[in-house]
């Protein structure tokens, strides 16, 4: 038996902020990080000097890291981390920041996911994303993650009988959610007919299975509950959190993610069953991955994803609210901020600041992360359960 881990008790997550997304920007990542930290300061009333921890995730900072950002923004934290896990970085920044606060290494940690997107930066990022991508995937058609997830989607469809419509349900309902999110890049409803008629990108992946790369930032503060109360900040608490890297490495093609390894741990930390959750923010780089999370996080059995989406409505007011901000499929993917999108949205939902897309009476929500396609799958998975503070 592994040693009982320290709980995340006493840690507050507060001040969810978004630096509005733009398709392309001539600004650098530093600009978006600066805007995010300024928004945190303004929204919280916490002086910049009081932020004594910084946890950052960004792809487009090079050659800088979080270190250069401290001088760039005039911060002097006593705890610093740069988390390179992309789509899983929201969960992972939160876990690291929470432990720093519990240990007393920092009092107030700013967690920021931010990236810029120049006209040609997506192409350049793909070719140099990882050693394995450079050597073993980019030279094969240079489709980026589209071709990798086409393999995964096509294999999933054949193995478990999913149809394009099943994935369409996820995309269409997320678009409905996005219509209530002023920050979402997509402002028009999406019909199933439009989803099905979209142009093919890499069969069976079509246009509305893909996220739109853009520039932007998402951020939040982590501190003790006591501190949050003193500052009068609406906040949520961490009921459980997991992460895993390179799980199921022997599966020849990805059919399950690392969540499956750790989900019992997650629910036992929270002391709840999956059915107790009022919403989930899955990581939706492609709909098939959202569907895998429904399975691997225990909302249905492996292979039942298609039946699950047929039996549920995934809108904010539906039977299984999923990606209530619209997710990356409809809000846009601002690089590493995509890994923060679900976290920021979950904090908004649980602090009654989600506006017209509010999930009625939500008490408990799950946020999952998934990041870094180094070769033929994403390697990093994580999840947290957040709840309202007492």
């Amino acid at each position: 038996m592994p040693r009982q881990r320290l709980s995340y008790e006493g840690v507050a997550v507060a001040v969810p902020v978004t630096v509005p997304y733009v398709r392309y920007s001539t600004r650098t990542a530093h600009w978006f990080i600066g805007q995010a930290v300024e928004a945190l300061v303004k929204a919280s009333g916490v002086a910049k000097e009081q932020i004594d921890g910084l946890c950052l995730s960004s792809f487009s900072l090079a050659p800088d890291t979080a270190v250069g950002v401290t001088q760039h923004l005039g911060l002097s934290p006593r705890w610093l981390d740069h988390v390179p896990t992309g789509g899983a970085s929201g969960v992972m920044c939160l876990r690291r920041a929470a432990r720093a606060v519990q240990a007393g290494d920092a009092d107030i940690v700013a967690c920021v996911g931010a990236d810029t997107n120049h006209v040609d930066s997506f192409r350049q990022t793909l070719g140099s994303f990882s050693n394995f991508a450079r050597d073993a995937s980019y030279p094969y058609g240079s489709g980026g993650p589209n071709s990798i997830f086409a393999f995964i989607t096509s294999n999933y469809m054949r193995t478990y009988g999913a149809t394009r419509e099943d994935f369409g349900r996820i995309a269409v309902d997320q678009r409905t959610n996005a219509l209530g999110n002023p920050h979402a890049m997509f402002k028009k409803p999406l019909t199933m007919a439009e989803y099905m008629a979209a142009r093919p990108i890499s069969d069976p992946i079509h246009l509305f299975d893909c996220v739109m790369p853009c520039a932007g930032a998402e951020a939040f503060l982590v501190m003790s509950e006591e501190r949050a109360r003193d500052l009068g900040l609406a906040h949520v608490v961490i009921r459980g959190a997991i992460e895993r890297h390179n799980a199921f490495a022997d599966d020849p093609v990805m059919v399950r993610g690392g969540w499956l390894v750790d989900r019992d741990d997650l629910y036992s930390q929270a002391g709840v069953a999956p059915a107790a959750l009022d919403f989930v923010q899955t990581y939706d780089d492609y709909p098939v991955i959202a569907m895998m999370q429904f399975e691997d996080l225990g909302f249905c059995e492996k292979g039942e994803g298609p039946a699950f989406v047929r039996a549920n409505t995934l809108t904010f007011d539906g039977s299984f609210p999923n990606n209530t901000s619209g997710g990356q499929l409809s809000a846009g993917q601002a690089g590493a901020a995509g890994g923060f999108l679900g976290m920021v949205e979950a904090v908004r939902q649980l602090t009654d600041t989600a506006g017209p897309r509010t999930v009625p009476n939500a008490q408990l929500g799950l946020v999952a992360g998934f990041g870094m396609v180094t070769y033929d799958r994403c390697l990093c998975t994580g999840a947290v359960i957040l709840g309202r503070s007492e």
Binding site: A136, P139, Y140, G143, S154, I201, S202
Partner: protein, 420 residues
């Protein structure tokens, strides 16, 4: 079934000639091990000497047991097609200009999962055609890529659109063979015609000399004799002005071969003559025909594609009984590496042929085995079709190569002692 390639229509001279955009060519140092094997036509993957794990992508440690004892081992390539996709969008110009493009995910029987380009005769995963054979080929950037082939290909499988991007098949192409007067030159011409070459221009340095065999090849409708003297810059330049813009493949087989080393012959005249053809001839040819080939490397399905150099296994290590010849071939080899680097940005493949002794008059005193001209000619055509870049045809070349790779110093001592 692959549809056989049809003879392309005559090019519309009003249209701009499409220029080459290379496929992504960046690779890490470890990954170049696959390229090194593919350059000789082999598919090798890293194998752990300690635990036997075959791994991909290439790494610096065994992903099972962490051993650094990783060696490149030839693979059968047998595997199962797990998934496939047709790409309709690409972020890279090379692929964007060639969409749609098929890709597959293959689980090799030996363990790893590979992303591959799919041959058109391999059906989509789940169509009941699960078995594939993976091979490595050099792409237009000269880097190895993996390809999923059908287990049993049809007669025209070489005409597959994707595969032709990786190879330099002479079919419907226009070829210059620089020397038609030797038995080897004539064998190369016949092999090219048999392989479906559209036009074969055959160089003839001294047209007034009527030598045997020339009449036979000139009778072939595809063959045209052209004046070409590699020792004469103006001759090379004039021919390039006439046909340079049409040539798709250059095969430089012209050579001067005399025996002896340093002490058995007085003066430098013979050595100069060897250098003048074997080294400077290549240099003159490359300066005149290189730019023309580079300009047409993306010119349709039968655009300019390859440059072949006839070198010698003696280029690797000097064979003293043929000492000055060895030196001229070593010089040519070095220059051919330079040519390869300069042709790479255009996607023109430079193929170096390293034969052992050819069964011709200048190897009269060399004991067998010797390479028959016809065998060597077929090896050259095969190299073009298979898309390799270094060829060591024949038993002698293979054996010397093995000894040279094992220990070049030991081979030097053995050659100094007479060879065996």
């Amino acid at each position: 079934m692959t549809m056989p390639l049809m003879r392309p229509k005559r090019k519309n001279p009003m249209l701009r000639t499409r220029q080459m955009n290379l496929p992504p060519w960046a690779r890490g140092r470890v990954a170049l091990g696959i390229t090194a094997a593919a350059a000789e036509g082999r598919f090798e993957l890293q194998t752990c000497e300690d635990c036997g794990t075959v791994q991909y992508p290439p790494r610096e440690a065994c992903c099972k047991c962490l051993s650094p004892q990783l060696h490149w081992r030839e693979q059968s390539g047998e595997g199962q097609l797990l998934s496939s996709t047709t790409l309709h969008h690409s972020n890279d110009l090379f692929f964007r200009e060639r969409l749609p493009w098929r890709l597959g995910l293959v689980h090799l029987d030996s363990g790893p999962t590979l992303m591959v380009h799919l041959h058109g005769e391999v059906g989509d995963a789940g169509d009941g055609q699960g078995r594939v054979r993976v091979g490595a080929r050099l792409d237009r950037a000269g880097q190895a890529v993996l390809i999923g082939f059908p287990n049993q290909g049809s007669a025209h499988m070489a005409d597959d659109k994707m595969l032709r991007e990786m190879t330099s098949d002479p079919k419907f192409r226009k070829v210059l063979v620089t020397d038609g007067k030797t038995e080897l030159g004539q064998a190369i011409v016949r092999a090219l015609v048999k392989a479906g070459a559209d036009i074969v221009w055959v160089g003839h340095a001294e047209p007034w000399k009527k030598l045997g065999g020339l009449d036979d090849i000139t009778a072939l409708p595809q063959v045209t004799l052209v004046p070409l003297d590699l020792t004469n810059g103006r001759s090379v330049s004039e021919l390039a002005g006439e046909i340079g813009g049409k040539v798709d493949i250059v095969i430089n087989n012209a050579e001067v071969h005399r025996s002896f080393g340093i002490g058995a012959r007085r003066g430098t005249d013979v050595a100069k003559a060897e250098m003048d053809i074997n080294y400077f001839g290549l240099l003159r040819l490359a300066q005149e025909f290189g730019p023309a080939l580079k300009g047409r490397s993306a010119d349709g399905a039968t655009g300019a594609t390859a440059w072949v150099n006839l070198l010698s296994i003696y280029a690797l290590s000097n064979f003293p009984p043929h000492g000055t010849f060895s030196a001229s071939k070593a010089a040519a080899h070095s220059l051919a590496q330079c040519l390869r680097a300069e042709m790479r940005p255009a996607g023109i493949r430079v193929i170096n042929i390293f034969p052992g002794p050819i069964d011709d008059e200048w190897n009269q005193h060399t004991p067998p085995p010797k390479l028959a001209p016809g065998t060597l000619a077929n090896a050259i055509v095969k190299a073009l079709r298979d898309g390799v870049e270094d060829v060591y045809p024949g038993d002698v070349a293979q054996e010397w190569l093995e000894r040279w790779r094992d220990n070049p110093k030991v081979l030097e001592r053995e050659l100094a002692a007479g060879g065996a």
